[in-house]
């Protein structure tokens, strides 16, 4: 909106009109494959994303930064889960740390106590972690919005104290001697491939019929019940998917650091995915990925500032929420698909 007073003292207003680009409309149906231009329009952004992610480890200057790329991948899984739950099921989850911790401990226990290799512990910790988290969150599923957030925030804090107080699973020392990945490049690329599959898989899922049910639960849960669908069941499926992604990240983390401990329940894992979703653009699923690839390396750069890191971080977040609350990806998608012009009202 842009208003100004004219010479008559009345207000003349202009507003921005947004119109879909012709190419966007042409590429919506099967006719998209009729010419290279349309195909490029569809494929290019996706290709840039995939190739960009896969090239990233090769461009890193040092082993330290290669490790940062892996950590980013873990945060991406959490952020994807958060965005999926928040924008497609209406459940605001602060459970990132919970999912990471459960997956991390599970993988570490399976590896050190039962001698299973990472090729088995990671899938088992993913499924097992998802099941444990979903079962524990089951009583909280009727809750919505901030109340669900409070319960999910409580779990990692409680589990951390329980492990500390009972001195189980290695207590405050954690579980040491977890096996690492056999090859460095496996460790590096597996997580990136998982991230790519997760992004495109989730994007596909939310546009399938079951994805519409998820959106229905967010939009109008009473209507979903009147449609003969149990909202608890679909919320549980959603939480299972999100906590599975988180547990996968946790298991990966344990094997990268060859260690699992109570710092895996740290609230960073709950908060940074939310920040990444805000910056990247909620509801797009790609946005949180971009947000993680910006925020996590940024926080590594800011390590030089010590504890001031958080202040700078907070300022960036505030600026984003105030001036670009829609997020990078929503903005970019709009620019890509639509053109704007000013019209007089």
């Amino acid at each position: 909106m842009n208003s100004s007073m004219n010479e008559y003292g009345t207000t003349s207003e202009r507003r921005k009109e947004r119109i879909d680009r012709g190419i966007k409309v042409r590429t919506e149906g099967i006719y998209a494959i009729s010419s290279w231009k349309e195909v490029t329009y569809l494929v290019l952004p996706r290709l840039v994303l995939i190739v960009g992610i896969l090239l990233l480890p090769l461009l890193m200057p040092s082993l330290y930064w290669n490790r940062v790329v892996s950590i980013v991948g873990i945060y991406v899984l959490l952020a994807l889960g958060f965005d999926f739950l928040a924008h497609f099921l209406g459940l605001v989850s602060l459970g990132g740390a919970f999912f990471i911790g459960v997956g991390g401990y599970l993988a570490a226990i399976l590896n050190t106590s039962f001698g299973l290799p990472p090729a088995l512990t990671i899938p088992m910790a993913t499924l097992g972690g998802a099941m444990i988290c979903t079962l524990l969150l089951l009583p909280a599923l009727p809750l919505r919005g901030v109340y669900f957030a409070i319960v999910t925030l409580m779990y990692p804090l409680a589990l951390m104290r329980i492990i500390e107080a009972l001195n189980i699973f290695g207590g405050t020392d954690g579980i040491l001697g977890v096996a690492s990945f056999p090859y460095r490049w496996v460790e590096q690329y597996l997580i990136l491939v998982i991230v790519i599959v997760a992004v495109f898989g989730l994007r596909r899922l939310v546009n399938e019929d079951i994805g519409l049910v998820f959106r229905g639960v967010k939009d109008n849960d009473q209507a979903v019940r009147a449609s003969g669908l149990s909202i608890t069941l679909y919320k549980a499926i959603g939480v299972f998917i999100a906590s599975g992604l988180g547990s996968l990240g946790g298991a990966y983390l344990s094997h990268i650091y060859m260690w699992s401990g109570i710092s895996q329940f740290a609230l960073d894992f709950s908060v940074i995915p939310i920040a990444a979703t805000v910056i990247g653009g909620g509801g797009t699923l790609v946005g949180p990925l971009l947000g993680c690839f910006i925020l996590v390396p940024l926080s590594e750069f800011l390590r030089a500032f010590g504890t001031l890191r958080i202040v700078i971080y907070a300022v960036i977040l505030v600026v984003f929420i105030m001036f670009r609350s829609e997020g990078i990806m929503v903005y970019a998608q709009r620019k890509y698909h639509q053109f704007e012009r000013w019209v007089k009202v």
């Binding site: 519409l212 959106r215 449609s227």
Partner: protein, 259 residues
């Protein structure tokens, strides 16, 4: 109960704190009929529907559907048995296009039994089936209307969308909570044949309505509620001649105007 009773409500009581919303309400609806529920504002009509469909747990009483006890079952289970409802305040999925609104009920276990995993069986996927249902209920197939976001649809279409959501479940009973309210006279005029068509398809209808003239055109029996209690029940003409009904529901107005 007789063979043809499809839905029986026996002695339902519901209190919200100190407010007695329903007090020993009983009714039985025959298969294939249109049954009207009327009464002044706050007389418990919507509460009764909420109790039957499981959205509110009743304090005491029983609901039998085809002789089976469905008292206080979760609403999704009741809907899957074929007892569906519309909401007085429309509850579409505003962020979805109209036809995608119907994909959600088509995904329910009841619809999947007939439609298979893809949705429509031989008829195509769920999107195609939704367009068919929407056309049946009055959305022009070749227009943009079925593809518009529900948030941009006018009240008339949203009321139809409520009915369409019920139809997607291939229901035996539809409980309509004021489908005529908020509509213009011409919209109501086009809705009445729809209701008649549903009845001809063998669907039992229970209608809460304030538009008595239109209700009496389709309903074979009506029940009058007042302060949570059943005043009387019978064919519309008889019921409206009842002195208590005139007093409670219509005040001093000329009742004969409505028949």
């Amino acid at each position: 109960m007789s063979e043809e009773d499809i839905l029986q409500v026996i002695d339902v009581c519901k209190a919200f704190g100190g407010v007695q919303a329903l007090l020993h309400v009983s009714l039985s609806v025959r298969r294939g009929e249109v049954f009207g529920i009327i009464g002044p504002n706050g007389s418990g009509k919507t509460t009764l529907i909420n109790c039957i469909t499981g959205f509110i747990k009743m304090n005491s009483g029983k609901v039998l559907y085809k002789g089976k006890d469905i008292t206080n079952r979760p609403p999704d289970q009741i809907a899957n048995l074929g007892v569906t409802r519309t909401f007085q305040i429309m509850r579409p999925y505003y962020s979805l296009p109209a036809y995608k609104n119907l994909v959600i009920p088509l995904f329910s276990p009841r619809a999947r039994r007939t439609g298979g995993w893809r949705g429509g069986g031989k008829l195509g996927d769920r999107g195609t089936v939704s367009i068919d249902i929407l056309e049946e209920i009055g959305f022009e197939r070749d227009s943009f209307v079925p593809y518009k976001l529900a948030s941009s649809l006018p009240t008339g279409y949203l009321k139809r969308l409520e009915l369409a959501r019920c139809l997607a479940l291939r229901p035996d009973v539809i409980l309509c909570d004021e489908v005529f309210s908020g509509l213009s006279m011409s919209e109501i005029a086009s809705m009445v044949p729809l209701i008649e068509k549903l009845q001809m398809d063998g669907i039992t209808l229970i209608m809460i309505e304030h538009r008595l003239r239109e209700l009496f055109r389709v309903a074979s029996r009506v029940m009058v509620l007042n302060f949570g209690q059943k005043l009387t029940e019978g064919v519309p003409e008889e019921v409206m001649r009842d002195e208590r009904v005139k007093e409670a529901y219509l005040g001093s107005e000329q009742v004969s105007d409505y028949i």
